[in-house]
């Protein structure tokens, strides 16, 4: 709350800085704006930037590192005996102290030394808040006054403001790179500490997946339950079923839309397919778990087949429906992009429309269609909610679509939802699975994009 007020104050101060700078610049030339190097507004922006940038930097710095510093101070002020008594790690102890300080009902039987630590924490928080407010305001005001004294008619205010603005633009364009780097590093870092406990080959080629954490040091069987092969086969099975549904339907509807449909039909069907693409995956998951799964099981029972209610068929089939619009819109673009001259040449030789499409258009569009399918596969592999809701939890090494299988994403969710201890192989294995998933989709996307680019160059 206080932070919010502070942010608003900073914003007001910035706005005030704008008018101050503008007024100051005009005052220096007695109101004759033509004597200024830049438009008067730019002097205002100059001041506003000098107010906002120091203020926001100090603000962000404090918010980011303040809590960590407080935690360090509180934990280092605890006596050895308190630390020794506490169950679990210092981080857990600190959470308890925080709860006492926040007055949450959890901490009814707090010990006196923890109470004292909580009091200490409270007073530190107070100090930190006061420090933050004064530091932020001081930084903003310093910037304001300093830049105020620098305003001169011949100052190149526009160039300076634009230079800073350009730096901001550059900075925001690097966010994409930073995100990718962040993903790779966070996955790699956690996976490496997992592979230190479980050999990477056991993980990639082991056949038994039942992740457990050893409670005691001497417990057996705590490290051989991390064979991820059943997850990979489960993912591939569901993806295969999904593509079996999505590829023919998506491709055929794209062909029809591109070469047969009248503009009227096109203008109706395209938005409807977009609706299909815009429905959240959790809705598909709900539909698969509630309607399709039981429906398939009932059909199975009536013809004497044993179908699991969380069968791979239900999850894969519904996922296929989800991917249809994806494949159809990508293939549509590609089929439309095949030059008219190819089609007309084929018609001139007497080929029917279907023959033209099959023998001329599709072969020409093949690389694009394949890359659309690859992108579809990468979507299917990474899809989470449908399988979490409609596929099973138990790792099952089978190729039978009527049985229940589990996937990589399902396991990531089950391992990480709820309370978790960090640094246990069980939690870390989720990051290793994430790394595999990321690598697989990265490779698929890369190949697909490359194929599309190469293909586009042919006709341009």
């Amino acid at each position: 709350m206080t932070s919010f007020v502070l942010a608003v104050t900073l914003l007001l101060l910035t706005g005030f800085g704008y008018f101050l700078g503008r007024g100051r610049a005009l005052a220096r030339v007695n109101g004759r704006a033509r004597d200024l190097h830049s438009l008067p507004g730019y002097y205002g922006y100059y001041l506003a930037l000098w107010c906002a940038i120091p203020g926001i930097s100090v603000f962000a710095f404090w918010l980011m590192f303040g809590p960590g510093v407080i935690e360090h101070i509180v934990l280092s002020s605890l006596s050895e005996s308190t630390l020794a008594k506490a169950p679990g790690s210092p981080e857990f102890l600190y959470t308890t102290i925080e709860r006492i300080a926040d007055g949450q009902p959890f901490a009814t039987t707090a010990e006196p030394d923890l109470e004292a630590a909580a009091e200490h924490l409270k007073s530190l928080r107070q100090t930190s808040l006061a420090g933050m407010i004064s530091a932020v305001l001081a930084a903003a005001l310093c910037g304001l006054t300093w830049s105020w004294t620098r305003i001169r008619p011949q100052m190149r205010a526009r160039n300076r403001v634009e230079h800073i603005f350009c730096l901001f633009l550059m900075g925001s364009s690097t966010i994409a790179v930073l995100t990718t780097v962040g993903i790779i590093f966070s996955l790699l870092f956690e996976s490496l500490s997992f592979f230190r406990q479980i050999p990477i080959l056991d993980f990639l080629f082991g056949l038994n997946w039942s992740p457990q954490t050893a409670i005691r040091e001497d417990q057996v069987g705590s490290t051989d339950g991390f064979g991820a092969v059943p997850l990979f086969t489960g993912t591939l099975l569901i993806t295969f079923i999904a593509m079996l549904v999505a590829t023919p339907i998506g491709l055929m509807s794209a062909i029809y839309m591109a070469d047969y449909a009248s503009p009227n039909l096109r203008s109706v069907v395209k938005p409807v397919l977009e609706i299909l693409a815009g429905i959240p995956t959790v809705v598909y998951g709900f539909f698969a778990a509630l309607t399709v799964g039981p429906f398939l099981r009932d059909i199975g029972t009536s013809i004497g087949l044993d179908v699991a209610s969380e069968s791979a068929l239900a999850a894969g089939g519904v996922m296929g429906i989800m991917i249809i619009p994806f494949i159809s819109s990508l293939s549509d673009d590609i089929i439309v992009a095949v030059p008219r001259s190819l089609r007309e040449g084929s018609y001139a030789l007497g080929a029917t429309k279907a023959e033209t499409i099959r023998k001329v258009v599709l072969p020409a569009a093949l690389p694009g269609v394949i890359s659309a399918c690859l992108l579809g596969v990468s979507r299917a592999i990474g899809e989470t909610m449908i399988v979490v809701m409609a596929a099973g939890l138990a790792a099952n090494l089978t190729a039978n679509p009527l049985e229940s299988v589990t996937t990589v994403t399902v396991q990531i969710v089950t391992l990480l939802v709820g309370d978790q201890e960090f640094d246990s192989p069980k939690t870390l294995s989720a990051f290793a699975l994430g790394l595999v998933l990321f690598t697989a989709t990265l490779v698929l996307n890369f190949i697909a994009l490359r194929v599309v680019q190469k293909y586009r160059e042919q006709y341009d």
Binding site: M64, G68, E71, E162, F168, L169, S172, S173, I175, A176, V177, T179, G182, I183, S186, L187, P248, I249, M252, S253, Y256, Y260, V269, L273, E274, I275, L276, G278, I279, P280, T281, V282, V283, G285, F287, T291, I321, T352, K353, A354, E355, I357, L375, S378, R379, G382, T384, M385, V388, M389, I412, V417, F422, F431, G434, L437, F438, T441, L442, N445
Partner: protein, 433 residues
């Protein structure tokens, strides 16, 4: 010679005629494949939305029972303190029980009295306690009040539990059915709009559970997503499209953006867990973190849409502005950007709609907790609308199926409104140069 050539050409044209039939049949078949592919996709859409709508429509309604409630001072405030804190601690369930007993005076057997309780929601006590909190003058009076029925009665009334089932297979026993029919005959049972569903947070009792908490959580999350991803995305797109020279570095950025658009959403959740929670120690389950993760996910959508609409602004505009002495940044900010704005906004709304429907990354950062309170700030524990759907879909109670479908309808309605807004913007402001 002529004969033979004639017969030969005849057979040739016969062959062609015969094959033409086959080829035209193939043509018709091919066209049919296309139509049926589209039809299958559309039928699936109709079945899916239809089945959810049919299941969920009832969730907007509830069954209420009218009872004569005696707000006895004996129970609410026996010592006459007039202290609201005392009122809040009073045993309102007992008042509900007494009202039920008064409604059915002939029920005297201990077992039956116990069964009577199953008619009224466990949350009815809260309703009464809120009434007293708002108007203490009610104490000591007797009022006719419509109270929510239990979820079993509600299901029974809506017909999702069939009356033909054997008694042992349903939770509403024959004795309850008798009472329900008695109430119905006397007009003390009605079905009304379930306002609680729109104003309450989550609850373990299906009849008391609402989506308001999830809607607020989603709003807070999307607000963070918008204020982060919109400026960053637009600024990045301006730089890449208008100002930057084509270098290896910008090519590399472009590869990264395309890749970001295709990374599975759950990976963003892992990033958020590792960086925002474990490294930066931001609060778990908070809309702040959820918004940050979704902002990263939405960023490529906005960048790509912005670049496309910047590209669509004709170069003559830029040249004219530059000819009048505008600096490159003035050209962009004063001329190109305003013209590209409708396209940018359309892309942003579509990105926001995707973010609203996304749940996998939110599971990773702990926005799946059972949270009753309506979140008040960006750092309060919260959940989001799609996550609420996921949570309820997992609940064992039968009545939650209806709630889940109803919440799904609300979610889809929001998305339809957002997408319609995007389409309207595009239609209204799109300019062909």
């Amino acid at each position: 010679m002529t004969d033979s050539s004639k017969s030969k050409s005849m057979s040739h044209s016969d062959r062609i005629a015969a094959s033409l039939k086959r080829r035209h049949a193939a043509e018709t078949r091919f066209r049919l494949y296309g139509i049926s592919a589209i039809a299958i996709a559309l039928i699936f859409l109709v079945i899916m939305l239809g089945s959810i709508f049919i299941r969920g429509w009832g969730g907007f309604f509830e069954t209420q029972i009218e009872l004569t409630v005696d707000f006895s001072r004996q129970i609410i405030d026996p010592e006459g303190t007039n202290d609201p804190a005392v009122f809040a601690r009073a045993d309102f369930r007992k008042i509900v029980r007494n009202a039920l007993k008064a409604r059915f005076p002939d029920v005297t057997k201990r077992k039956d009295v116990k069964a009577l309780k199953a008619l009224i929601s466990k949350a009815a006590g809260y309703e009464l306690s809120h009434l007293i909190r708002d108007d203490p003058a009610l104490i000591g009076t007797t009022q006719n009040i419509w109270l929510p029925s239990s979820d079993e009665v509600d299901n029974f009334m809506k017909g999702s539990v069939s009356r033909d089932l054997p008694e042992s297979a349903r939770r509403i026993k024959d004795i309850h059915v008798g009472w329900i029919e008695e109430l119905e005959a006397e007009g003390a049972l009605k079905s009304t709009l379930n306002l609680r569903f729109f104003t309450h947070g989550d609850s373990r009792e299906p009849e008391n559970a609402g989506i308001w908490g999830a809607i607020v959580g989603s709003t807070l999350t999307l607000f963070i997503t918008l204020i982060l991803s919109f400026p960053l995305g637009v600024m990045a797109a301006i730089y890449l499209e208008e100002l930057s020279p084509k270098t290896r570095w910008t090519d590399f950025i472009e590869v990264n953006i395309n890749n970001m658009a295709a990374v599975p959403s759950i990976i963003y959740g892992l990033l958020g867990l590792a960086v925002f929670l474990n490294f930066m120690h931001l609060p778990r389950s908070a809309p702040l973190v959820g918004g940050m993760v979704l902002a990263l996910m939405t960023l490529p959508t906005i960048i790509i849409a912005t670049r496309a609409s910047l590209k669509a602004v004709p170069p003559s505009i830029r040249e004219a502005a530059r000819g009048l002495g505008a600096s490159p940044i003035q050209v962009v900010l004063h001329h190109v950007l305003p013209l590209a704005m409708p396209g940018i906004l359309t892309g942003t709304i579509i990105g926001m709609a995707r973010a609203l429907g996304e749940s996998a990354p939110l599971l990773m950062i702990g926005m799946v907790a059972f949270i009753v309170d309506i979140p008040q700030s960006f750092t309060d524990p919260a959940t989001a609308l799609p996550v609420q759907v996921y949570l309820w879909a997992d609940s064992p109670e039968r009545a939650f199926v209806e709630k889940t479908a109803a919440a799904t309808i609300v979610l889809v309605a929001f998305l339809v409104v957002m997408n319609a807004m995007a389409v309207y913007l595009r239609k209204r402001f799109e300019r062909r140069w």
